[in-house]
């Protein structure tokens, strides 16, 4: 485990909107080279997903992974787990942004998955080892996840979810936010409608490639080459 700044993780300083909720330092463990070179997309959602939600998470994470996009998620049960596992199975890269310190395993059944991510991929936490977890830590984690991701996809979420905080933060940061079609079209939810007014986009099987169009090509750097 080592301590890095966001500059060391992203390869650049933060702009005026990114500073607001950015943690000063992050604890990381894993094999991915820093600063990160691949585009990154968060795939997040509920801990109690439907079968259709799990299928969608796998479809999205699989397509992103095979296109060289690192799949970012929160290692929670449900959608997050499906996103990480699919990215690994497809030979892609995945980044887990934890709401707990790296020396904790939560949820306990994801212990092996967390260990594999810490060995071959990347686990990130803004909380120091030994930190006692508070409920608000998970909201802070979701903002951090929005910050280190070039785009966010909310696959499935109910009326209350960390994924919703992440969506609003992605909007504030000016990053593309997508909501999977079943959730976007769900008449029982009010937040997708609100987010649409602020620029959230509907994601379906066909529009995954439009999401890819909004991402940079790797390797990412922050040196602007202006000439031919």
């Amino acid at each position: 485990m080592r301590k890095v700044t966001l500059r060391e993780l992203l390869g650049r300083e933060l702009n005026y909107v990114e500073h607001k909720y950015a943690p000063r330092e992050l604890y990381v463990e894993g094999a991915l080279e820093l600063p990160l070179k691949d585009p990154r997309v968060s795939v997040v959602g509920t801990r109690q997903p439907s079968q259709a939600g799990l299928d969608a998470a796998r479809l999205i994470a699989g397509r992103l992974a095979e296109q060289g996009v690192a799949v970012v998620s929160g290692l929670a049960r449900g959608i997050d787990t499906a996103a990480h596992v699919t990215a690994i199975e497809r030979g892609g890269r995945t980044i887990a942004v934890l709401g707990t310190p790296l020396d904790r395993f939560y949820p306990p059944e994801n212990r092996e998955l967390q260990l594999e991510i810490m060995r071959k991929h990347l686990a990130v936490s803004q909380f120091p080892p030994g930190h006692i977890t508070r409920p608000r830590d998970f909201v802070m984690r979701n903002r951090t996840m929005a910050l280190i991701s070039d785009a966010t996809v909310i696959v499935e979420a109910g009326a209350v979810s960390g994924a919703i905080s992440q969506g609003w933060e992605a909007i504030r940061l000016g990053r593309p936010l997508y909501i999977w079609r079943d959730t976007f079209d769900n008449p029982n939810l009010t937040w997708p409608r609100k987010m649409e007014r602020y620029g959230a986009m509907r994601l379906d099987e066909r529009s995954i490639d439009e999401l890819l169009d909004e991402l940079p090509v790797s390797p990412i750097d922050y040196i602007v080459k202006l000439g031919l």
Binding site: R12, E13, L14, N15, Y16, V17, K20, E66, Q67, G68, D150, I171, R172, L173, G174, R175, E196, R197, Y198, G199, M201, E210, L212, D213, E214, L215, P216, V217, S218, I220, Y222, I223, V224, K225, L226, G227, L228
Partner: protein, 276 residues
């Protein structure tokens, strides 16, 4: 050009090629990573590697601009790191002062000199710089600290003495993002015009107003914004400034830094086209 119809004159300093215009669309290429698909597409179109690389760079610069990333602007800015919005403002000032070698024209028209001519006439310490609202609704960007790239560019330009930022337009309701989501025929100037509102009391009649945007594609956003201002202030003189423009004809790409001035033209079906 002067004899042809021109509904709004505009200038832009950077250009980019959307990745999707480069990609190899053969069915067997669909599963390749995007960079590879783009490189293959370049090869099929006879675009040499170096030019293809610059096109991919231009796509990433567009991405930096849209997120206002902190970048290193070498070779322009040595090793200083600045927000993309500041780099745009600095480059604009340098182009106007003729401090950058402008790409030699490949056709009869010296677009770079036209940029200097047009924007040189409009930009200046007292020029109102009106940022174009984003496509989605905005509550209060100053209060919640959200990203509004055109506003940031206008502020940086003000900082360099190129004008004064004036928040004069607001989006009343979200409209679909034009650059990636819509077909050309769906990008209607009227959609923008109807969703915008003038929120400044400053009388712009008789003034030279610069609309500031981050990316121009067809020009419908800039033209809709200009109409909205002209509705209230019929005697305002308006010009558009977009940091970056989309290149759809690959032969027109001459590198990411390529200042031009041109025209946005309104069609009868309320679509627009842009030249160059």
């Amino acid at each position: 050009m002067s004899s042809e119809k021109c509904d709004l004159r505009f200038g832009s300093i950077l250009s980019y090629v959307p990745l999707k215009y480069l990609e190899d669309d053969a069915p067997d290429a669909a599963d390749l990573p995007r960079e590879e698909r783009a490189r293959k597409g370049c090869a099929k179109r006879g675009i040499e590697d170096r030019l293809c690389g610059a096109m991919l760079d231009s796509h990433n610069i567009m991405w930096h601009l849209k997120s206002n990333h902190v970048v290193s602007g070498r070779p322009i800015e040595e090793d200083r790191e600045v927000e993309m919005s500041e780099l745009v403002a600095r480059l604009t000032k340098m182009v106007l002062a003729n401090e950058l070698g402008i790409v030699s024209p490949i056709d009869e028209i010296n677009w770079g000199a036209r940029f200097q001519g047009l924007l040189g006439e409009f930009l200046g310490r007292d020029a109102p710089l009106v940022p174009v609202p984003p496509h989605s609704q905005v509550k209060d960007y100053s209060a919640n600290g959200g990203l509004w790239v055109p506003d940031r560019i206008a502020a940086r330009m003000e900082g360099l003495g190129l004008g004064r930022r004036l928040v004069a337009l607001q989006r009343e309701r979200a409209v679909p993002k034009s650059s990636t989501r819509l077909k050309r025929t769906e990008r209607r100037t009227t959609t923008h015009y109807e969703s915008l509102r003038v929120i400044s009391d400053e009388d712009l009649n008789g003034k030279r107003v610069v609309l500031v945007d981050d990316v121009v594609t067809t020009g419908s956003t800039l033209l809709g914004s200009a109409w909205r201002i002209l509705d209230r202030y019929p005697n305002a003189q308006i010009v558009g400034f977009a940091a970056m423009r989309t290149i759809s004809d690959l032969h027109m790409f001459r590198g990411p830094l390529d200042p031009v001035a041109g025209c946005i033209v309104h069609n009868e079906d309320c679509t627009t086209y842009r030249r160059p």
